[in-house]
Amino acid sequence: MEKKNIKGWLYLLPAALFIGAFLVYPLIDVIIYSFEEGYNSASQTFFGYGFYNFGYVLRDRYFLSALKNTFILVIITVPVSTGLALFISVLLSSIKKLRELFQTIYFLPYVTNTLAVGLVFMILFNKTPYSDGLVNVLVKALGGTAIDFINGPYWAKMLVNCVYTIWIVLPFKILLLTSALASVKQDYYKAAQVDGTGCFRIFYKITLPMISPTIFYLVITGFIGAFKAYSDQVALFGVNLNAAGMNTIVGYVYDMLYGDSGGYPSYASAAALILFAIVLTITVINLLVSSKHVFYD
Protein backbone atom coordinates (compact mmCIF):
# COMPACT_ATOMS: atom_id res chain seq x y z
CA MET A 1 0.00 0.00 0.00
CA GLU A 2 2.82 2.34 0.90
CA LYS A 3 4.48 1.83 -2.49
CA LYS A 4 1.21 2.51 -4.30
CA ASN A 5 0.77 5.83 -2.47
CA ILE A 6 4.17 7.05 -3.52
CA LYS A 7 3.62 5.96 -7.10
CA GLY A 8 0.46 8.01 -7.54
CA TRP A 9 2.18 11.11 -6.26
CA LEU A 10 5.21 10.37 -8.43
CA TYR A 11 3.06 10.47 -11.58
CA LEU A 12 1.53 13.69 -10.34
CA LEU A 13 4.81 15.29 -9.34
CA PRO A 14 5.74 17.05 -12.62
CA ALA A 15 2.29 18.58 -12.97
CA ALA A 16 2.24 19.57 -9.29
CA LEU A 17 5.64 21.26 -9.61
CA PHE A 18 4.60 23.26 -12.67
CA ILE A 19 1.23 24.21 -11.22
CA GLY A 20 2.74 25.07 -7.86
CA ALA A 21 5.47 27.25 -9.30
CA PHE A 22 3.58 29.00 -12.07
CA LEU A 23 -0.06 29.02 -10.92
CA VAL A 24 -0.52 28.64 -7.16
CA TYR A 25 2.51 30.56 -5.91
CA PRO A 26 1.89 33.48 -8.32
CA LEU A 27 -1.74 33.63 -7.25
CA ILE A 28 -0.80 34.08 -3.60
CA ASP A 29 2.05 36.38 -4.46
CA VAL A 30 -0.05 38.69 -6.62
CA ILE A 31 -2.39 39.30 -3.71
CA ILE A 32 0.57 40.13 -1.46
CA TYR A 33 2.04 42.42 -4.12
CA SER A 34 -1.19 44.34 -4.43
CA PHE A 35 -1.06 45.29 -0.74
CA GLU A 36 2.62 46.22 -0.60
CA GLU A 37 2.82 50.00 -0.54
CA GLY A 38 5.63 51.92 -2.20
CA TYR A 39 7.30 48.85 -3.67
CA ASN A 40 10.61 49.64 -5.31
CA SER A 41 11.57 47.10 -7.96
CA ALA A 42 15.25 48.13 -7.94
CA SER A 43 15.86 47.69 -4.21
CA GLN A 44 12.93 45.27 -3.74
CA THR A 45 11.79 47.13 -0.62
CA PHE A 46 8.41 48.52 0.40
CA PHE A 47 7.01 50.68 3.22
CA GLY A 48 4.12 48.64 4.53
CA TYR A 49 0.79 47.02 3.73
CA GLY A 50 -2.44 48.78 2.82
CA PHE A 51 -4.94 49.69 0.14
CA TYR A 52 -2.88 52.50 -1.38
CA ASN A 53 -2.21 50.63 -4.65
CA PHE A 54 -5.92 50.14 -5.29
CA GLY A 55 -6.58 53.79 -4.59
CA TYR A 56 -3.80 54.86 -6.91
CA VAL A 57 -5.01 52.67 -9.75
CA LEU A 58 -8.62 53.76 -9.36
CA ARG A 59 -7.58 57.43 -9.57
CA ASP A 60 -5.11 56.94 -12.45
CA ARG A 61 -6.59 58.55 -15.55
CA TYR A 62 -4.96 55.91 -17.77
CA PHE A 63 -6.72 53.19 -15.80
CA LEU A 64 -10.05 55.02 -15.98
CA SER A 65 -9.74 55.43 -19.73
CA ALA A 66 -8.77 51.75 -20.05
CA LEU A 67 -11.81 50.86 -17.96
CA LYS A 68 -14.07 52.95 -20.17
CA ASN A 69 -12.66 51.48 -23.40
CA THR A 70 -13.01 47.94 -22.10
CA PHE A 71 -16.61 48.48 -20.99
CA ILE A 72 -17.59 50.02 -24.33
CA LEU A 73 -15.95 47.12 -26.13
CA VAL A 74 -17.75 44.57 -23.95
CA ILE A 75 -21.16 46.23 -24.19
CA ILE A 76 -21.01 46.45 -27.98
CA THR A 77 -19.22 43.29 -29.03
CA VAL A 78 -20.80 40.68 -26.74
CA PRO A 79 -24.44 41.21 -27.81
CA VAL A 80 -23.61 41.96 -31.45
CA SER A 81 -21.29 38.99 -31.91
CA THR A 82 -23.63 36.59 -30.13
CA GLY A 83 -26.64 37.81 -32.12
CA LEU A 84 -24.78 37.72 -35.42
CA ALA A 85 -23.41 34.25 -34.66
CA LEU A 86 -26.91 33.03 -33.85
CA PHE A 87 -28.30 34.49 -37.09
CA ILE A 88 -25.55 32.93 -39.22
CA SER A 89 -25.78 29.59 -37.42
CA VAL A 90 -29.55 29.39 -37.95
CA LEU A 91 -29.08 30.09 -41.66
CA LEU A 92 -26.24 27.59 -41.80
CA SER A 93 -28.38 24.90 -40.17
CA SER A 94 -31.18 25.42 -42.69
CA ILE A 95 -29.07 24.40 -45.68
CA LYS A 96 -27.52 21.11 -46.77
CA LYS A 97 -25.42 21.90 -49.84
CA LEU A 98 -22.03 23.57 -49.22
CA ARG A 99 -22.63 23.57 -45.49
CA GLU A 100 -19.22 22.10 -44.63
CA LEU A 101 -17.48 24.55 -46.93
CA PHE A 102 -19.15 27.51 -45.21
CA GLN A 103 -18.36 26.06 -41.78
CA THR A 104 -14.70 25.70 -42.71
CA ILE A 105 -14.48 29.25 -44.06
CA TYR A 106 -16.24 30.74 -41.04
CA PHE A 107 -13.81 28.99 -38.71
CA LEU A 108 -10.65 30.32 -40.36
CA PRO A 109 -10.18 33.44 -38.17
CA TYR A 110 -9.91 31.18 -35.12
CA VAL A 111 -6.64 29.65 -36.30
CA THR A 112 -4.97 32.84 -37.42
CA ASN A 113 -2.41 34.86 -35.54
CA THR A 114 -4.29 37.89 -34.23
CA LEU A 115 -1.24 40.16 -34.51
CA ALA A 116 -0.85 39.22 -38.17
CA VAL A 117 -4.47 39.57 -39.28
CA GLY A 118 -4.90 42.67 -37.13
CA LEU A 119 -2.22 44.26 -39.27
CA VAL A 120 -4.32 43.53 -42.37
CA PHE A 121 -7.35 45.19 -40.74
CA MET A 122 -5.17 48.15 -39.83
CA ILE A 123 -4.17 48.52 -43.47
CA LEU A 124 -7.73 48.19 -44.73
CA PHE A 125 -8.90 50.97 -42.41
CA ASN A 126 -5.77 53.12 -42.36
CA LYS A 127 -5.64 56.49 -44.08
CA THR A 128 -2.17 57.54 -45.21
CA PRO A 129 -0.89 60.40 -47.37
CA TYR A 130 -0.55 57.89 -50.22
CA SER A 131 -3.99 56.38 -50.01
CA ASP A 132 -7.29 56.69 -48.18
CA GLY A 133 -7.38 52.94 -47.71
CA LEU A 134 -9.94 50.51 -49.00
CA VAL A 135 -12.62 51.10 -46.36
CA ASN A 136 -12.52 54.83 -47.01
CA VAL A 137 -12.96 54.19 -50.74
CA LEU A 138 -16.15 52.39 -49.77
CA VAL A 139 -17.19 55.21 -47.41
CA LYS A 140 -16.69 57.75 -50.17
CA ALA A 141 -18.58 55.62 -52.68
CA LEU A 142 -21.50 55.68 -50.25
CA GLY A 143 -21.30 59.46 -50.11
CA GLY A 144 -19.32 59.97 -46.90
CA THR A 145 -15.98 61.66 -46.34
CA ALA A 146 -12.76 59.80 -45.64
CA ILE A 147 -12.03 59.22 -41.96
CA ASP A 148 -8.76 58.20 -40.38
CA PHE A 149 -9.87 55.08 -38.53
CA ILE A 150 -6.52 54.25 -36.96
CA ASN A 151 -5.16 57.64 -35.85
CA GLY A 152 -8.34 59.70 -36.05
CA PRO A 153 -11.31 60.42 -33.80
CA TYR A 154 -12.11 58.25 -30.78
CA TRP A 155 -15.36 56.77 -32.10
CA ALA A 156 -13.72 55.81 -35.42
CA LYS A 157 -10.97 53.93 -33.58
CA MET A 158 -13.53 52.27 -31.32
CA LEU A 159 -15.52 51.22 -34.40
CA VAL A 160 -12.52 49.45 -35.93
CA ASN A 161 -11.77 47.96 -32.54
CA CYS A 162 -15.29 46.51 -32.28
CA VAL A 163 -15.41 45.33 -35.90
CA TYR A 164 -12.13 43.47 -35.56
CA THR A 165 -13.07 41.98 -32.19
CA ILE A 166 -16.38 40.71 -33.57
CA TRP A 167 -14.64 39.28 -36.65
CA ILE A 168 -12.18 37.41 -34.45
CA VAL A 169 -14.66 36.01 -31.86
CA LEU A 170 -17.37 34.88 -34.29
CA PRO A 171 -15.78 31.54 -35.38
CA PHE A 172 -15.94 30.11 -31.87
CA LYS A 173 -19.55 31.21 -31.39
CA ILE A 174 -20.73 29.99 -34.80
CA LEU A 175 -19.08 26.61 -34.20
CA LEU A 176 -20.74 26.10 -30.82
CA LEU A 177 -24.14 27.35 -31.95
CA THR A 178 -24.25 25.20 -35.10
CA SER A 179 -23.46 22.09 -33.08
CA ALA A 180 -26.09 23.09 -30.50
CA LEU A 181 -28.67 23.61 -33.27
CA ALA A 182 -27.80 20.23 -34.79
CA SER A 183 -28.47 18.51 -31.49
CA VAL A 184 -32.06 19.80 -31.11
CA LYS A 185 -34.38 16.81 -31.54
CA GLN A 186 -36.16 16.86 -34.93
CA ASP A 187 -39.34 15.46 -33.28
CA TYR A 188 -40.08 18.86 -31.75
CA TYR A 189 -39.95 20.56 -35.14
CA LYS A 190 -42.11 17.86 -36.75
CA ALA A 191 -44.71 18.18 -34.01
CA ALA A 192 -44.76 21.95 -34.44
CA GLN A 193 -45.11 21.58 -38.21
CA VAL A 194 -48.07 19.27 -37.80
CA ASP A 195 -49.67 21.93 -35.64
CA GLY A 196 -48.97 24.48 -38.35
CA THR A 197 -46.79 26.70 -36.18
CA GLY A 198 -45.10 29.63 -37.92
CA CYS A 199 -41.36 29.62 -38.31
CA PHE A 200 -40.70 32.60 -36.03
CA ARG A 201 -42.83 31.05 -33.34
CA ILE A 202 -40.94 27.75 -33.75
CA PHE A 203 -37.67 29.58 -33.38
CA TYR A 204 -38.81 31.51 -30.34
CA LYS A 205 -40.63 28.68 -28.58
CA ILE A 206 -38.52 25.64 -29.48
CA THR A 207 -35.09 26.46 -30.90
CA LEU A 208 -34.19 29.27 -28.54
CA PRO A 209 -35.06 27.44 -25.30
CA MET A 210 -33.31 24.28 -26.53
CA ILE A 211 -30.04 26.04 -27.29
CA SER A 212 -30.25 28.50 -24.40
CA PRO A 213 -27.53 26.73 -22.37
CA THR A 214 -25.09 27.22 -25.26
CA ILE A 215 -26.10 30.85 -25.72
CA PHE A 216 -25.65 31.41 -22.04
CA TYR A 217 -22.22 29.74 -22.10
CA LEU A 218 -21.23 31.96 -25.02
CA VAL A 219 -22.42 35.10 -23.26
CA ILE A 220 -20.38 34.27 -20.16
CA THR A 221 -17.22 33.32 -22.06
CA GLY A 222 -17.83 36.32 -24.32
CA PHE A 223 -17.92 38.70 -21.35
CA ILE A 224 -14.80 37.14 -19.85
CA GLY A 225 -12.94 37.19 -23.17
CA ALA A 226 -13.90 40.78 -23.99
CA PHE A 227 -12.88 42.01 -20.54
CA LYS A 228 -9.45 40.48 -21.17
CA ALA A 229 -9.04 42.16 -24.57
CA TYR A 230 -5.52 43.24 -25.32
CA SER A 231 -3.70 41.54 -28.22
CA ASP A 232 -6.31 42.59 -30.78
CA GLN A 233 -5.87 46.23 -29.80
CA VAL A 234 -2.07 45.97 -30.03
CA ALA A 235 -2.51 44.48 -33.49
CA LEU A 236 -4.62 47.46 -34.63
CA PHE A 237 -3.09 50.42 -32.81
CA GLY A 238 0.47 49.37 -31.92
CA VAL A 239 2.19 48.71 -28.61
CA ASN A 240 1.64 52.18 -27.15
CA LEU A 241 -2.09 51.90 -26.49
CA ASN A 242 -2.12 54.82 -24.05
CA ALA A 243 -0.95 57.17 -26.79
CA ALA A 244 -3.64 55.81 -29.10
CA GLY A 245 -6.23 56.25 -26.33
CA MET A 246 -7.35 52.66 -26.91
CA ASN A 247 -5.82 50.92 -23.90
CA THR A 248 -7.66 48.11 -22.13
CA ILE A 249 -7.52 46.94 -18.51
CA VAL A 250 -5.17 44.08 -19.36
CA GLY A 251 -3.08 46.50 -21.41
CA TYR A 252 -2.85 48.76 -18.36
CA VAL A 253 -1.68 45.82 -16.24
CA TYR A 254 1.12 45.00 -18.67
CA ASP A 255 2.09 48.65 -19.11
CA MET A 256 2.48 48.93 -15.35
CA LEU A 257 4.58 45.80 -15.29
CA TYR A 258 6.88 46.32 -18.21
CA GLY A 259 7.89 48.74 -20.90
CA ASP A 260 8.39 52.50 -20.81
CA SER A 261 5.91 53.07 -17.97
CA GLY A 262 6.64 49.73 -16.25
CA GLY A 263 8.37 48.64 -13.08
CA TYR A 264 5.31 48.82 -10.80
CA PRO A 265 4.24 45.22 -10.09
CA SER A 266 2.16 46.45 -7.13
CA TYR A 267 -0.01 48.69 -9.31
CA ALA A 268 -0.18 45.93 -11.94
CA SER A 269 -1.34 43.43 -9.30
CA ALA A 270 -3.96 45.81 -7.93
CA ALA A 271 -5.32 46.48 -11.42
CA ALA A 272 -5.36 42.73 -12.24
CA LEU A 273 -7.29 42.01 -9.04
CA ILE A 274 -9.79 44.79 -9.85
CA LEU A 275 -10.26 43.18 -13.29
CA PHE A 276 -10.76 39.78 -11.66
CA ALA A 277 -13.36 41.27 -9.30
CA ILE A 278 -15.24 42.87 -12.22
CA VAL A 279 -15.25 39.63 -14.23
CA LEU A 280 -16.37 37.64 -11.21
CA THR A 281 -19.21 40.09 -10.47
CA ILE A 282 -20.44 40.04 -14.08
CA THR A 283 -20.30 36.24 -14.15
CA VAL A 284 -22.31 35.98 -10.94
CA ILE A 285 -24.91 38.43 -12.32
CA ASN A 286 -25.06 36.33 -15.49
CA LEU A 287 -25.61 33.18 -13.44
CA LEU A 288 -28.42 34.82 -11.47
CA VAL A 289 -30.15 36.14 -14.60
CA SER A 290 -29.76 32.85 -16.44
CA SER A 291 -31.29 30.74 -13.70
CA LYS A 292 -34.59 32.33 -14.72
CA HIS A 293 -34.20 32.15 -18.49
CA VAL A 294 -32.02 29.18 -19.35
CA PHE A 295 -33.70 25.89 -20.04
CA TYR A 296 -31.76 22.73 -19.15
CA ASP A 297 -33.40 19.48 -20.14
Binding site: K4, N5, L23, F107, L115, A116, L119, K173
Partner: protein
Protein backbone atom coordinates in the same frame (compact mmCIF):
# COMPACT_ATOMS: atom_id res chain seq x y z
CA UNK B 1 -60.92 20.14 -63.06
CA UNK B 2 -60.49 23.65 -61.84
CA UNK B 3 -59.75 22.30 -58.36
CA UNK B 4 -56.75 20.31 -59.70
CA UNK B 5 -55.44 23.44 -61.30
CA UNK B 6 -55.56 25.19 -57.92
CA UNK B 7 -53.41 22.51 -56.29
CA UNK B 8 -50.83 22.90 -59.01
CA UNK B 9 -50.80 26.62 -58.48
CA UNK B 10 -50.38 26.29 -54.72
CA UNK B 11 -47.54 23.85 -55.20
CA UNK B 12 -45.89 26.17 -57.69
CA UNK B 13 -46.21 29.08 -55.30
CA UNK B 14 -44.73 27.05 -52.47
CA UNK B 15 -41.81 25.99 -54.64
CA UNK B 16 -41.21 29.59 -55.69
CA UNK B 17 -41.30 30.72 -52.08
CA UNK B 18 -38.79 28.01 -51.16
CA UNK B 19 -36.49 29.08 -53.93
CA UNK B 20 -36.61 32.75 -52.91
CA UNK B 21 -35.97 31.82 -49.30
CA UNK B 22 -33.05 29.58 -50.31
CA UNK B 23 -31.63 32.29 -52.50
CA UNK B 24 -31.75 34.78 -49.64
CA UNK B 25 -30.13 32.34 -47.21
CA UNK B 26 -27.29 31.53 -49.61
CA UNK B 27 -26.74 35.21 -50.42
CA UNK B 28 -26.30 36.07 -46.74
CA UNK B 29 -24.01 33.09 -46.18
CA UNK B 30 -21.89 33.92 -49.23
CA UNK B 31 -21.71 37.56 -48.15
CA UNK B 32 -20.43 36.55 -44.73
CA UNK B 33 -17.94 34.10 -46.27
CA UNK B 34 -16.58 37.01 -48.32
CA UNK B 35 -16.30 39.18 -45.19
CA UNK B 36 -14.29 36.41 -43.51
CA UNK B 37 -12.10 35.67 -46.52
CA UNK B 38 -11.49 39.23 -47.66
CA UNK B 39 -8.66 40.07 -45.21
CA UNK B 40 -6.87 36.88 -46.26
CA UNK B 41 -7.31 37.76 -49.93
CA UNK B 42 -6.08 41.27 -49.28
CA UNK B 43 -2.94 40.17 -47.46
CA UNK B 44 -1.99 37.70 -50.18
CA UNK B 45 -2.79 40.24 -52.90
CA UNK B 46 -0.82 43.04 -51.25
CA UNK B 47 2.16 40.75 -50.66
CA UNK B 48 2.51 40.35 -54.43
CA UNK B 49 2.34 44.06 -55.23
CA UNK B 50 5.62 45.90 -55.61
CA UNK B 51 6.44 48.69 -53.16
CA UNK B 52 6.18 51.38 -55.81
CA UNK B 53 2.96 50.15 -57.36
CA UNK B 54 1.33 49.77 -53.93
CA UNK B 55 2.17 53.33 -52.99
CA UNK B 56 1.08 54.73 -56.32
CA UNK B 57 -2.42 53.27 -55.96
CA UNK B 58 -4.43 56.04 -54.33
CA UNK B 59 -7.46 53.84 -54.79
CA UNK B 60 -6.21 50.31 -54.04
CA UNK B 61 -6.62 47.85 -56.90
CA UNK B 62 -8.16 44.42 -56.48
CA UNK B 63 -5.49 42.74 -58.57
CA UNK B 64 -1.71 42.91 -58.83
CA UNK B 65 -0.77 44.27 -62.25
CA UNK B 66 2.86 43.14 -62.01
CA UNK B 67 3.05 40.43 -59.37
CA UNK B 68 6.46 40.18 -57.73
CA UNK B 69 8.15 37.90 -55.23
CA UNK B 70 10.47 40.68 -54.09
CA UNK B 71 8.47 41.20 -50.88
CA UNK B 72 9.03 37.61 -49.82
CA UNK B 73 12.75 37.99 -50.47
CA UNK B 74 12.70 41.21 -48.41
CA UNK B 75 10.78 39.53 -45.61
CA UNK B 76 13.52 36.95 -45.20
CA UNK B 77 16.52 39.22 -45.82
CA UNK B 78 15.67 42.70 -44.49
CA UNK B 79 14.30 41.34 -41.21
CA UNK B 80 15.18 38.05 -39.47
CA UNK B 81 11.82 36.45 -40.26
CA UNK B 82 13.36 32.98 -40.65
CA UNK B 83 14.83 33.36 -37.15
CA UNK B 84 11.42 34.33 -35.72
CA UNK B 85 9.81 31.31 -37.38
CA UNK B 86 12.58 29.01 -36.14
CA UNK B 87 12.23 30.40 -32.59
CA UNK B 88 8.50 29.82 -32.71
CA UNK B 89 8.98 26.25 -33.93
CA UNK B 90 11.45 25.53 -31.11
CA UNK B 91 9.13 27.14 -28.55
CA UNK B 92 6.06 25.33 -29.87
CA UNK B 93 7.69 21.88 -30.08
CA UNK B 94 9.32 22.07 -26.63
CA UNK B 95 6.28 23.50 -24.87
CA UNK B 96 3.88 21.02 -26.45
CA UNK B 97 6.15 18.01 -25.82
CA UNK B 98 6.74 18.98 -22.19
CA UNK B 99 3.04 19.63 -21.68
CA UNK B 100 2.07 16.23 -23.12
CA UNK B 101 4.54 14.45 -20.84
CA UNK B 102 3.32 16.30 -17.74
CA UNK B 103 -0.41 16.08 -18.40
CA UNK B 104 -0.38 12.43 -19.52
CA UNK B 105 1.28 11.38 -16.27
CA UNK B 106 -1.04 13.53 -14.17
CA UNK B 107 -4.19 12.43 -16.02
CA UNK B 108 -3.15 8.80 -15.66
CA UNK B 109 -2.62 9.24 -11.92
CA UNK B 110 -6.08 10.78 -11.55
CA UNK B 111 -7.83 8.27 -13.81
CA UNK B 112 -6.19 5.01 -12.84
CA UNK B 113 -4.01 5.10 -9.71
CA UNK B 114 -5.21 5.22 -6.12
CA UNK B 115 -3.50 7.34 -3.56
CA UNK B 116 -4.62 9.29 -0.51
CA UNK B 117 -5.70 12.85 -1.23
CA UNK B 118 -6.40 12.13 -4.91
CA UNK B 119 -9.90 13.58 -4.94
CA UNK B 120 -8.89 16.61 -2.92
CA UNK B 121 -6.02 17.38 -5.30
CA UNK B 122 -8.26 16.88 -8.33
CA UNK B 123 -10.88 19.26 -6.96
CA UNK B 124 -8.15 21.77 -6.23
CA UNK B 125 -6.91 21.46 -9.84
CA UNK B 126 -10.44 22.05 -11.15
CA UNK B 127 -10.76 25.16 -9.00
CA UNK B 128 -7.53 26.47 -10.52
CA UNK B 129 -9.17 26.54 -13.96
CA UNK B 130 -11.00 29.68 -12.88
CA UNK B 131 -7.78 31.61 -12.32
CA UNK B 132 -7.23 34.06 -15.16
CA UNK B 133 -3.77 34.00 -16.72
CA UNK B 134 -3.53 37.78 -16.42
CA UNK B 135 -3.38 37.43 -12.65
CA UNK B 136 -0.47 35.00 -12.41
CA UNK B 137 1.57 36.44 -15.25
CA UNK B 138 2.69 39.32 -13.00
CA UNK B 139 4.49 37.10 -10.49
CA UNK B 140 5.75 34.79 -13.23
CA UNK B 141 7.30 37.81 -14.88
CA UNK B 142 9.04 38.75 -11.63
CA UNK B 143 10.10 35.14 -10.96
CA UNK B 144 11.60 34.61 -14.41
CA UNK B 145 13.31 38.00 -14.29
CA UNK B 146 14.80 37.29 -10.85
CA UNK B 147 16.06 33.91 -12.04
CA UNK B 148 17.86 35.69 -14.87
CA UNK B 149 15.88 33.75 -17.46
CA UNK B 150 14.76 36.71 -19.57
CA UNK B 151 15.65 36.21 -23.22
CA UNK B 152 16.05 32.45 -22.89
CA UNK B 153 13.95 29.59 -24.20
CA UNK B 154 13.72 28.20 -20.67
CA UNK B 155 12.06 31.41 -19.51
CA UNK B 156 9.71 31.37 -22.46
CA UNK B 157 8.74 27.73 -22.16
CA UNK B 158 8.46 26.88 -18.46
CA UNK B 159 5.44 29.05 -17.49
CA UNK B 160 3.65 28.15 -20.75
CA UNK B 161 3.70 24.39 -20.14
CA UNK B 162 1.01 23.96 -17.53
CA UNK B 163 -2.59 23.50 -18.58
CA UNK B 164 -5.07 22.33 -15.97
CA UNK B 165 -7.87 22.12 -18.49
CA UNK B 166 -6.08 19.59 -20.69
CA UNK B 167 -5.32 17.43 -17.62
CA UNK B 168 -9.05 17.40 -16.97
CA UNK B 169 -9.87 16.61 -20.62
CA UNK B 170 -7.39 13.71 -20.74
CA UNK B 171 -8.45 12.37 -17.36
CA UNK B 172 -12.06 12.15 -18.55
CA UNK B 173 -10.87 10.33 -21.66
CA UNK B 174 -8.58 7.92 -19.77
CA UNK B 175 -11.40 7.08 -17.35
CA UNK B 176 -13.52 5.76 -20.22
CA UNK B 177 -11.17 2.81 -20.79
CA UNK B 178 -12.81 -0.29 -19.28
CA UNK B 179 -11.37 -1.57 -16.00
CA UNK B 180 -11.08 -5.08 -17.47
CA UNK B 181 -8.18 -4.02 -19.66
CA UNK B 182 -6.25 -2.79 -16.63
CA UNK B 183 -7.00 -5.93 -14.64
CA UNK B 184 -5.95 -8.15 -17.53
CA UNK B 185 -2.73 -6.20 -17.86
CA UNK B 186 -2.11 -6.57 -14.14
CA UNK B 187 -2.67 -10.34 -14.32
CA UNK B 188 -0.09 -10.50 -17.08
CA UNK B 189 2.30 -8.68 -14.78
CA UNK B 190 2.41 -5.49 -16.85
CA UNK B 191 3.71 -2.48 -14.96
CA UNK B 192 1.57 0.64 -14.71
CA UNK B 193 3.92 2.61 -16.88
CA UNK B 194 3.95 -0.05 -19.58
CA UNK B 195 0.14 -0.24 -19.42
CA UNK B 196 -0.04 3.53 -19.88
CA UNK B 197 2.37 3.40 -22.79
CA UNK B 198 1.05 0.30 -24.55
CA UNK B 199 -2.70 0.46 -23.88
CA UNK B 200 -3.92 3.87 -22.71
CA UNK B 201 -2.03 6.07 -25.13
CA UNK B 202 -2.97 4.14 -28.30
CA UNK B 203 -6.64 4.01 -27.28
CA UNK B 204 -6.76 7.72 -26.44
CA UNK B 205 -4.76 8.82 -29.46
CA UNK B 206 -7.58 10.95 -30.99
CA UNK B 207 -7.88 13.09 -27.86
CA UNK B 208 -4.11 13.36 -27.59
CA UNK B 209 -3.91 14.57 -31.18
CA UNK B 210 -6.64 17.14 -30.53
CA UNK B 211 -4.93 18.44 -27.40
CA UNK B 212 -1.61 18.61 -29.26
CA UNK B 213 -3.06 20.59 -32.14
CA UNK B 214 -4.87 23.03 -29.84
CA UNK B 215 -1.66 23.59 -27.88
CA UNK B 216 0.32 24.11 -31.08
CA UNK B 217 -2.16 26.78 -32.20
CA UNK B 218 -1.94 28.44 -28.78
CA UNK B 219 1.87 28.42 -28.84
CA UNK B 220 2.13 29.68 -32.40
CA UNK B 221 -0.12 32.63 -31.61
CA UNK B 222 1.13 33.45 -28.13
CA UNK B 223 2.05 37.09 -27.81
CA UNK B 224 1.77 38.47 -24.27
CA UNK B 225 4.18 36.25 -22.39
CA UNK B 226 6.90 36.32 -25.09
CA UNK B 227 6.55 40.08 -25.27
CA UNK B 228 7.08 40.48 -21.53
CA UNK B 229 9.99 38.09 -21.30
CA UNK B 230 12.00 38.89 -24.44
CA UNK B 231 13.39 42.19 -25.62
CA UNK B 232 16.26 40.68 -27.58
CA UNK B 233 15.07 40.13 -31.18
CA UNK B 234 17.17 36.95 -31.26
CA UNK B 235 14.43 35.36 -29.10
CA UNK B 236 11.34 36.90 -30.68
CA UNK B 237 8.49 34.63 -31.70
CA UNK B 238 6.44 35.37 -34.81
CA UNK B 239 3.83 37.53 -33.03
CA UNK B 240 6.52 39.73 -31.52
CA UNK B 241 8.41 39.63 -34.79
CA UNK B 242 5.38 40.98 -36.65
CA UNK B 243 4.96 43.73 -34.08
CA UNK B 244 8.67 44.58 -34.33
CA UNK B 245 8.45 44.64 -38.14
CA UNK B 246 5.46 46.93 -37.87
CA UNK B 247 7.15 49.38 -35.50
CA UNK B 248 10.68 49.48 -36.97
CA UNK B 249 11.19 47.01 -39.78
CA UNK B 250 11.56 47.53 -43.53
CA UNK B 251 12.35 51.21 -43.30
CA UNK B 252 9.38 53.43 -44.00
CA UNK B 253 5.95 51.83 -44.29
CA UNK B 254 6.80 48.99 -46.62
CA UNK B 255 3.35 47.49 -46.39
CA UNK B 256 3.70 44.87 -49.15
CA UNK B 257 6.78 43.40 -47.41
CA UNK B 258 4.88 43.39 -44.09
CA UNK B 259 2.05 41.52 -45.77
CA UNK B 260 4.51 38.97 -47.15
CA UNK B 261 5.71 38.37 -43.58
CA UNK B 262 2.09 38.08 -42.42
CA UNK B 263 1.39 35.49 -45.12
CA UNK B 264 4.49 33.50 -44.14
CA UNK B 265 3.47 33.28 -40.47
CA UNK B 266 -0.22 32.62 -41.22
CA UNK B 267 0.19 29.83 -43.76
CA UNK B 268 1.51 27.08 -41.41
CA UNK B 269 -1.52 27.31 -39.12
CA UNK B 270 -4.02 27.54 -41.96
CA UNK B 271 -2.48 24.41 -43.52
CA UNK B 272 -2.56 22.64 -40.15
CA UNK B 273 -6.23 23.58 -39.85
CA UNK B 274 -7.23 22.50 -43.35
CA UNK B 275 -5.48 19.14 -42.89
CA UNK B 276 -7.05 18.49 -39.46
CA UNK B 277 -10.32 20.38 -39.91
CA UNK B 278 -12.64 17.88 -38.21
CA UNK B 279 -10.32 17.22 -35.27
CA UNK B 280 -9.71 20.89 -34.59
CA UNK B 281 -13.35 21.89 -34.84
CA UNK B 282 -14.58 19.09 -32.60
CA UNK B 283 -11.72 19.75 -30.21
CA UNK B 284 -12.51 23.44 -29.98
CA UNK B 285 -16.22 22.84 -29.48
CA UNK B 286 -15.33 20.48 -26.63
CA UNK B 287 -12.57 22.46 -25.06
CA UNK B 288 -11.81 25.73 -26.79
CA UNK B 289 -11.96 28.67 -24.45
CA UNK B 290 -11.81 31.64 -26.71
CA UNK B 291 -14.43 34.08 -27.80
Amino acid sequence: MSKNYDYEKIEKNARLKDRIRNGAVYSVLIFWALVVLFPFYWMVLTSFKSYSSYNSEYVPKFYAANPTLQNYIDAFTAVPLAKYVLNTVIFTVCTTALMLLVIILAAFAFARLDFPGKNAVFTFFLALMMIPGELVIITNFVTITDLGLRNTFTGLILPSVVSVFYIYLLKENFSQIPDELYKAAKVDGTSDFRYLYRVVLPICQPTLVTVTILKVIECWNSYVWPRLITDDPAYFLVSNGIQEIRENGFGRENIPAMMAAVVVISVPLILLFLLNRKKIMSGVSRGGLKG
